[in-house]
Structures are given as C-alpha cells and as structure tokens.
Assembly symmetry: C2
Homo-oligomer: 120 residues x 2
C-alpha cells in the first residue's frame, strides 16, 4: 500500500500536517492529491504544517516548493507553518525562496492568518 | 516505512481524517499515537473523520471502537464523522455500539458539535 498524506477540508481551507519524513513517491502523490483536492473542493486556502519535520532532502524540498507554487497558480492562498531551522536552511540553499508564501508558527496561527487574509 | 496517520492539533482538539483503508499495523499504530497525543497535548476533544472510508473489516472496526473508548477514558470527548452505510453496518453487526460517542455528518459539523459540547 502506498502511503498517502490525508488532506482535511475545513470550510474553504485544506489542512495538511506532514508528520513523518516523506519518501519521493509519497511526496509526488501528495502533490497530485493536493492539486486535485483544491480543484474538487474549490478551496481558497491551504495550510501545510511541517512542525514534526526536522529534515528534508533536496528532492522533497523541490516537490514541496512546486506544490506551493502550483496551489497558488490554482488560486489558493498557502500558509506554511512550523518550519524548523534545518528545513529553512535546505529550502533557501536550494533556492526555493517561497517568496510570496505566508508563514506562521503553528497550525492554529496559520489557520487564523489565512482566515484573516481570506476575509472570514 | 510504516504508514502512520497524522493527528492534527487545533486548539484543544485533535483532528484525524482516515482517508484510506487501514491495514492492521497502521490501525494499531494509530491507536497508540492517538492516546499518546491526547496525553501529550491534554486535548479535550477528538474528531475522527471517516468520510472517505466505505469499508472496514472486523479487526479495524474493533481497533477503532477500542481507541474511541480509550480516548474517552482519558477524558477526551470523541466525535466521529462521515460514517458510511457499510461501515455503520459492520460496527453494529460486530456489537461495537459506540453508544456514548457523538456523531456528525462531516469534519466541520463534528468540530462545531465538539466545540459547543466543550463550551467554547
């Protein structure tokens, strides 16, 4: 069985918590699942929480950077939360700057930020 | 890598969405993870969403019934959401009546119900 990351829908927002290190296949599956779910639910916002992740490799970083850009292209605002030091370092060193992405400390604060932004 | 089900913490509530059929090992791991998380976060409520699950076998049904009873023992109120017909049939046929568990149609309604119950 393939591992897949559950995507929770709460009102017009999708919530995802990445709690274990991803393998390549799971990361790509997540990319596909998230984009489909945005389309299917007409979600206006996405919060991806990384609190439990203390390391990512360059492939996963690239996939995550891509899925964030793709989600934005599809019209969803993205907040990423709980980025730890090593993950921030990997992202920046790889040139994945995520310049327009919103960030927050944890899932709750991310959701609040997103809801303010969406004008709820 | 073992598949594990992410448990999201939102304020004093834990949110879980079971989106793919569980194997026995994953179900037992989830049981352990959820009880630890309740303890660790002092969560007062748990919402488990089954919307995407259209079938469960008897072992999984038993594990889920147990984890709900255990969560309540630990002081957390549990709401289960999105139970489909075949899952309801399996649970009742196995004598897993979940008599004191709250239910709701979907994750959002489950969360609202729980928050009313917790007096937020």
């Amino acid at each position: 069985m393939n591992m897949r990351i559950p995507i929770l829908k709460l009102h017009d927002t999708l919530l995802i918590s990445i709690q274990w290190e991803l393998d390549d296949q799971t990361a790509l599956q997540f990319q596909e699942d998230l984009l489909h779910k945005i389309h299917e639910t007409s979600a206006r916002g996405v919060v991806i929480d990384f609190t439990s992740i203390d390391f990512i490799d360059s492939f996963i970083a690239k996939v995550l950077g891509d899925v964030i850009s793709m989600s934005k292209l599809m019209g969803a605002k993205v907040v990423i939360t709980g980025i730890q030091p090593a993950v921030a370092i990997t992202l920046i060193e790889l040139g994945i700057r995520l310049e327009e992405v919103m960030t927050a400390l944890d899932l709750e604060k991310g959701l609040e930020k997103l809801q303010r932004e969406l004008g709820d």
